[in-house]
Amino acid sequence: MTEVQQRTSVTRRIAAGMAGLLPLGVVAATWLTWHDRLPAELASHWSGTGEPDGFTSTGAALTLGLLLTGIPAVIGIIAAFIPSLRPALLRGIVGFAGMVSGMGAGTWLISAGLTLQAGSAEQAVLGWWLAALMASFLFGALPYFIAPKPKFTTTMHQTRIQLGANESGAWSKTITSKVLLCLPVVLLAVTAIMFIPAFTDGELSTFWMGGGTMLLSTVIVALIAHMQVTVDWRGLRIVSTLGRIPLKRIRLEDIAAVEVTELRPSEWGGWGYRVMPGRSALIMGAGPGLIVTTTGQKQFAVTVADPETAASLLLALRDRTDDGGTRHAGSAQTV
């Protein structure tokens, strides 16, 4: 996959790295302004939203705060200065680093701030600050969105299979993930170990609730472990081999463009069935695959062997649908 715009986005890469310094700066600045007023101990743990039930020495809390914000900041900056790092990966790194440092700064601010406000650690009431603490990881969104957006512009597939007037074409390929194929077995074993004691102890509700959830996830994993990808007059379809359940269908008339490319799990959010804003994917691992852009500007990617043939057939069939079959008369016979 080629990513253009890499040159122009250097400033955004560095800005994203720098944004990761903010939590560290906040921790350092608040300590500098508060340090002579802070007591020796800070409230550090609350079991509810009331008064604290755990305390830490101010020095330890500060060290923890600086480490939790400092290490991610350094990692984010290093990542921002590696030009060969793919934009999708950079976003992931600075986003995750931001989440960690956001939480680190949030923890420090709440501990120190509330203690300071209340006058002593014992009286620091958490209250609604709990929500702020929970939300502090959202800071990761800032460097994430500052980092340049990954571009998936590749050359659109242009070749078409020549189909005769009375000729129909169908392409089919099975895709298998060895990891996902083994996972159901492991999941079943784990389910058995976890819930058979509950069953023998007569805790049937635990058994049904927990066991049921585990079995459901096992079935879902099994469904996407082995699938068949087909291209024909119905468009691009993906059907699970187990139970023949349709998982995805893109109709011919909805196809705007098709790309043939090497797909990387890191660019599509990992392995399995991935759904992201505006795009989704079925990724079985790094390798050749198809990216279909729909007329609604949504992207769908699937890793599959021999994507060229699939793409060429998809385009040939779509063109035939587009002109309502009038093209049949003029098309060349090649068989």
Binding site: N166, E167, S168, S172, D306, V335
Partner: protein, 118 residues
């Protein structure tokens, strides 16, 4: 694996499919053990009758190129390969030659038996 059938061709639809499966085995796009699309699916995809697909699958099974298991569909036979296909082709030529000479299949088997003994 790409399947294409042309209703305007003089070759029967079942033969067209069989030819493509054989070609797929020869060029390696179909590997031994690979599953062929279920007959019903392929028929729907190609807008043809399911029995046409089944006829071509049966023909391929008789040639030893694919295996059909009850309820599990059709698979490329594990010993299917370019060698088997070439042999099948030669057997077909042999049979055609024998027919031209007015010989029966039994005569042919006897000749092969004689050659093997010698």
């Amino acid at each position: 694996m790409l399947f294409r059938v042309d209703a305007a061709s003089t070759v029967s639809l079942a033969d067209q499919i069989a030819v493509q499966v054989r070609a797929g085995v020869v060029d390696g796009s179909l590997v031994p053990g690979e599953r062929l699309p279920p007959a019903r699916d392929l028929a729907t995809a190609l807008h043809i009758n399911m029995h046409t697909v089944l006829r071509s699958y049966k023909q391929l099974r008789d040639e030893g190129i694919i295996e059909m298991r009850q309820g599990r569909g059709a698979f490329v036979s594990l010993d299917a390969g370019p060698g088997l296909l070439r042999l099948t082709e030669m057997a077909q030529q042999l049979l055609a030659e024998a027919r031209k000479l007015g010989m029966t299949q039994q005569d042919l088997v006897r000749i092969i038996g004689g050659v093997a003994k010698a």
